[in-house]
């Protein structure tokens, strides 16, 4: 019945980047990876924007920031062409609040920004989670902290998956590692947002946003499910209220229990990952997004050297594919996370494995991207129990 | 603008027994917060706060003490923050 109905933690090979949905309330378009005619070269930012339009995005709100600006610019032209809502807000804070309003009114909403702008949205993301307003938010990450650099980075992993706003909430986080996958995940993100009434984040990075790759011109389309909670005027029925305020703690706790039940369902049903060469892997390399692509090349090179490396690539960063990783790492001598950050994903890897396999980190920061050869060297080392040379030391 | 005298122990100008046939102002007692704004706004000064009565919220409520002098101008109702008051015009025959 559900788009994302399948055994929890079911994985897919890396080659097919994202599991297409399997019908149900919202049918996902199908992308045929064999089809090679009439593909288009598209920039990641533009493909994401167009994917949202194809998925029936009703309203886009944004604010310029590198390396995400082309997404906003694409929407500035295409949304009015489609007769849909485009507003360049006065700030990211305003943009995300416009999204809250439009989402509460029933719109399928997209918002995009990059790291500093995402930070400004923390309060409202918490409100949207609390008020259960669906929305898809794209973070095309750049180097931090602060103004940092505009290079591609993955320094916002913990923000997206753990912290960001205040209070007990979670946001599903999807991490594409190719432009084709980004197109599918945009559509899947809307499905998740509406099914679970939650904001959803897509974590991309500057390379994914700026690069061009061939994409199929047919983007997934989504029907719009009916909603019985949106505000539209109380015409012949009791008024509806979209809110996160529950001034009595007991009421708020009851509300939180509903949220937590939703999160448990997400954890049970929606973890996604992709794997490659895992069956006999003595070193499992874990990475997402752009870092996973580097890792993939490194795994291939390591195999050429005779090291049995495999790749585990979480597609949902939250819920984290714990079961998948545990199974993948069960027979491994070492797990190596490859990150464009100082050690963030590695926390979830350690939480998932709970000491059963040694976990190492190879991380670059600030817009630097690990090189395949450096990852190969790290694989060589962790394979014999030596911590990687390059890479930020673990903090604990 | 004259200052109202909230919580004053003003007696009804007419004894309770002899209530007039027509009541131009109806007070929803349970909603009144005894703020006294209506008392202050009433041109003929025929409203008081009833010190002898406390509602469930703990407030002395507004009372019309002289129905005959009330002009049904509704000024009291239009200042009331809690929409406590309903106003009727004096029937022709009354």
């Amino acid at each position: 019945m559900a788009v994302l109905d399948r055994p929890a933690d079911a994985g897919r090979s890396h080659a097919i980047a994202s599991p297409p949905g399997t019908g149900g309330e919202a049918t996902l378009g199908h992308v045929n990876p064999g089809l090679r005619t009439e593909r288009l070269l598209m920039k990641g930012n533009e493909a994401i924007a167009e994917a949202a339009i194809a998925a029936g995005c009703d309203a886009y709100f944004g604010y310029p920031i590198t390396p995400q600006a082309e997404l906003l610019e694409w929407m500035a032209r295409r949304m009015p062409e489609e007769g849909r809502v485009f507003v360049q807000a006065e700030s990211e804070l305003a943009a995300i609040n416009m999204a809250l309003g439009a989402g509460a009114a029933g719109a399928r909403v997209l918002v995009s920004s990059s790291s500093p702008g995402i930070s400004l949205m923390a309060e409202t993301m918490s409100y949207m989670a609390g008020s259960r307003v669906p929305c898809v938010l794209i973070n095309v990450m750049r180097g931090g902290p602060g103004l940092g650099s505009i290079g591609a980075a993955q320094g916002d992993y913990l923000q997206a998956t753990k912290g960001h706003g205040h209070g007990d909430y979670h946001v599903p986080v999807l991490a594409p590692s190719s432009i084709g996958e980004a197109i599918e995940l945009v559509s899947d993100a809307f499905v998740l947002a509406e099914r679970y009434r939650t904001p959803v984040m897509i974590l991309a990075d500057g390379i994914l946003g700026q690069a061009m790759e061939p994409v199929e011109p047919e983007f997934p389309k989504l029907p719009k499910p009916a909603a019985d909670w949106t505000i539209e005027g109380a015409d012949g029925r009791e008024p509806r209220v979209v809110r996160s305020l529950h001034i009595q703690p007991a009421d708020l706790e009851a509300h939180n229990n509903v949220l937590q039940a939703t999160y448990r369902e997400l954890v049970a049903r929606e973890p996604r990952w992709a794997g490659e060469l895992l069956d006999d892997a003595e070193v499992v390399v874990v990475g997402y997004g752009t870092a996973a692509r580097v890792a993939r090349t490194a795994v291939e090179r390591a195999r050429e050297e005779g090291i049995r490396a495999g790749l585990f690539r979480p597609v949902t960063l939250w819920p984290f594919p714990v079961g998948g990783l545990r199974a993948a790492a069960a027979g491994a001598r070492a797990v190596l996370t490859v990150e464009m950050s100082a050690g963030q994903l590695v926390e979830d890897v350690r939480l998932a494995l709970e000491g059963t396999v040694p976990v190492y980190l190879h991380g670059r920061t600030g817009g630097m991207v690990p090189s395949p050869d450096a990852v190969v060297e790290a694989i060589r080392r962790v394979c014999v129990g030596v911590p990687p040379l390059r890479g930020v030391e673990e903090l604990r | 603008m004259t200052m109202s005298t909230p919580l004053v122990d003003a007696p009804l100008r007419r004894a309770p027994g002899e209530l007039p046939a027509f009541q131009p102002v109806v007070v929803a007692d349970e909603r009144c917060k005894g703020c006294g704004l209506c008392v202050d706004a009433c041109p003929p000064g025929v409203l008081v706060l009833d010190e002898r009565f406390v509602n469930a919220m703990g407030h002395h409520v507004a009372r019309l003490v002289d129905a005959d002098a009330c002009t049904s101008c509704a000024k009291c109702a239009r200042v009331c923050p809690d929409a406590v008051l309903t106003i009727y015009a004096r029937p022709k025959e009354a």
Partner: protein, 183 residues
């Protein structure tokens, strides 16, 4: 087979365009492509560059630590990217602006006076198209016909005269690239 190419030069030299042409040509051949530009304010007054990876399989790393080809059109690019070429790789050098030597003997160096070749082909601003032609001429990892079709796809029907100029510049560069094989 996977081939990676870095193209770099001044912001105004058409670097990103040349990379797009190469990427489009590969796409037209049904291959996998990844085009990655430099972006943002770093490009202002500095060096622009892009990386194009062409492969028959799914493309992994966008970071090229072993470039098969580098095309460098100004001195800073020479300094930055000559060391990035893998042993046996090709470095195309725009000798109109670059006097320095790469200082490596494990790579092939193709020197092209891009401005004068471009001028000879009719438009002396098309330096990176000339360099692209030379690269393809020497290594032929995409077909020149694909590049011709790429110009048409990218520039569209509206501007036939520009397509003609670019094609001419590419072909002139292509010839310049072939040369030593004949010599």
């Amino acid at each position: 087979m996977e081939r990676s190419t870095i193209i770099a030069g001044f912001g105004g030299q058409g670097i990103l365009f040349a990379g797009k042409v190469l990427a489009e040509a590969a796409l037209l051949e049904g291959r996998e492509v990844l085009w990655i530009p430099s972006y943002g304010p770093e490009m202002r007054g500095g060096t622009a560059s892009c990386t194009v990876i062409i492969s028959d399989r799914i493309i992994g790393s966008p970071v090229v630590d072993r470039a098969d080809h580098a095309v460098v059109l100004n001195p800073p690019s020479m300094a930055k990217y000559a060391p990035a070429v893998a042993a046996g790789g090709l470095l195309v050098v725009n000798t109109t602006l670059i006097e320095a030597e790469p200082g490596r003997d494990d790579i092939e160096v193709l020197e092209v006076p891009c401005t004068s070749v471009a001028r000879g082909a009719g438009d002396d601003t098309l330096v990176s198209v000339v360099a692209l032609g030379a690269l393809v001429g020497r290594r032929r990892f995409v077909e020149p016909e694909s590049v011709h079709r790429a110009f048409e796809r990218l520039l569209g029907a509206k501007r036939p005269e520009i397509i003609a100029a670019d094609t001419a510049a590419f072909d002139a560069g292509y010839e310049a690239g072939l040369e030593p094989a004949i010599a």
